[in-house]
Amino acid sequence: MSDEKKVTILNYFLTEEQQMIVDVARQITEEKIIPQRAELDENEEFPTGILKEMAQADLFGLYIPEEYGGFGGGCFDMVLALEQFAKGCVGIATSFAASALGAYPILISGSDELKQYYMPLIASGEKLAAFGLTEANAGSDASGIQTTAVLVGDEWVLNGTKQWITNAGDASIYSIIAITDRAKGARGASMFVVEDTDPGFSYGVKEKKLGIRASSTRELIFKDCRIPASRLIGRQGTGFFTVMKTLDLSRPGIASLGVGLGQAALDEAVTYAKQRVQFGKPIISFQAVQHILADMAIQLEASRALVYASARHIDNGGNDVSKPSSMCKVMATDMAMKVTTDAVQILGGYGYMREYPVEKMMRDAKILQIYEGTNQIQRNVIGQALNKEYSR
């Protein structure tokens, strides 16, 4: 665990309020997450109790406007909290982050009525949210979605199956996208709020995963699922627009999971390298080991700087947010994969064993390069943005 009294970190000029968020999130991580993470991972158990602690500390409302019972913060505030949680466990941090992912579509495009009703429930942590985009034939290519919504009288009727949805089965509020008019192509999809108790709505079995095993991942199954017409998020046909805006806002959060995870792995690696004696010396005295650690530290701090700068750009109403949002996601999550793998290397055989936390860190890192758009897709986004910028 990093002892920030000892470790020199760069001064990012946090406000008093931002430092408060860091302190509260860190305390939860140290006192509640770290003591339980190995057991929750081993048992693939959903972290209900820890999410309740986060709720009690007002963290579920971090990014939600005060008028809806939140703290009124932005993307950067989420980044700060998620970084701390990820130092403890990316699985638990993912469960927390996925609720925001489910809330963003309503915040971004929802009617005031939807916001008035759902935001206070999500802000207080009383209800968890989730986000349903992916389907069996629609991963990177969102245009492949087959779930449909048809307006019958004053109800929408949904049919189809969403797959690998984080928090599915544990959340109560789902923002999902469905085709409302296939002929309209990119303008043919719309987003809806579905509730746990809606008729015709059920879940598939819980997936067994490589990492983030404290998070839950299931299918959402819609069989003539009927919801009131008022649950349409925004105007009909704006589904893909809302999804893109949502992901622009959420990706720096995934990036900060990479930063927190990378920090935790570096902390473990340096601490171990100072203690482990081989050939009569602590292994940190070998330059080959020092260089691995140095590279870890360089990549980590560079990633943190890019994530913070991107989140601040977004919060300050910067334009073309997709590019920085994608850039920081790629950099910080590729870094996390590399740094956690290096941490296992530094710990050698001990690193490979479950008694030490780094094997879990390495398993947890992989998902960050895949979900919320694979890192290949992020590079596509960045490439397209460059092409556009240089055509102006």
Partner: protein
């Protein structure tokens, strides 16, 4: 329900040392914290408030810097904070402490419940809770490990005993002191921290609580600490050597005759 929680600022146990020359606590550079048991007292107060409505007021007697523990308490859910502070209170023993606290609490008006920690980790007497109840002339239960419920002016709870627990009922207003089994204290909340930052701590002096000067501080104390010292380590010791199995065997043969 109006709930009063008594909290004490204590030196962090990790840092405590006695100055070998003066035999007093070496307080320089020692971090001050909320007495750990008082965190559980506060949490129980906040939970009862959440369950039954009302307010939680934290009270501490101490020097001006004890306001820090009050802010800490507010960030964890307390509504108001009162610092009972005056040079005249210095050197108080538990007799004078309970007098001072009881005078302050009377000034706060009517209340339903006073909650204290089981004991303070520095003074360690565990007398303040029970003593305070006597002064306020209300029933008390020490070592509460669970509150079963409050209804019709009666609080029901479980009191931890060496060999199990008692179920106890008291008429309110009442006082309890709590053990750590009673709950799992929460971490501070963001809104709590914001509130704590802006908090105006109410300070009550000897005059504010209508105290009789003869009953305060050193003057009002019926006991005095004559000497504080680290016990000298005189016990003979012997190191057992060999493999773990051999050491266990040696230890066993030494202990066996004593059983």
């Amino acid at each position: 329900m109006k709930i009063i929680v008594c909290v004490k600022q204590v030196p962090d146990a990790k840092d405590v040392r006695l100055d070998p020359k003066t035999n007093t606590l070496a307080r320089e550079g020692v971090q001050s914290i909320m007495n750990p048991f008082d965190r559980y007292a506060l949490e129980e107060g906040v939970r009862l408030k959440e369950l039954y409505g009302g307010t939680v007021t934290v009270v501490t007697m101490g020097p001006p810097q004890a306001a820090e523990v009050l802010r800490d308490a507010v960030s964890c859910g307390a509504d108001d904070a009162v610092l009972v502070s005056d040079r005249a209170f210095a050197g108080a023993d538990t007799w004078a402490t309970t007098y001072t606290l009881s005078q302050a609490i009377r000034k706060l008006g009517s209340f339903d419940l006073v909650i204290c920690g089981k004991q303070a980790i520095d003074g360690d007497t565990a007398q303040v809770g029970p003593g305070l109840a006597q002064r306020l002339d209300i029933p008390y239960t020490a070592f509460a490990r669970k509150v079963l419920g409050c209804a019709d002016g009666i609080i029901r709870l479980e009191r931890m005993m060496d060999d199990g627990y008692d179920e106890v009922e008291m008429n309110m207003p009442a006082l309890l002191t709590v053990v750590k089994d009673i709950n799992e204290p929460r971490v501070p909340s963001l809104k709590g921290k914001m509130k704590a930052k802006k908090l105006q701590v109410v300070v009550m002096s000897a005059a504010d609580i209508d105290a009789d000067p003869e009953c305060l501080g050193l003057k009002g104390s019926t006991t005095q600490v004559v000497r504080v010292f680290s016990p000298e380590f005189k016990a003979e010791r012997e190191m057992l050597v060999g493999t773990v199995d051999q050491q266990v065997e040696q230890l066993f043969s030494k202990l066996e005759p004593l059983l």
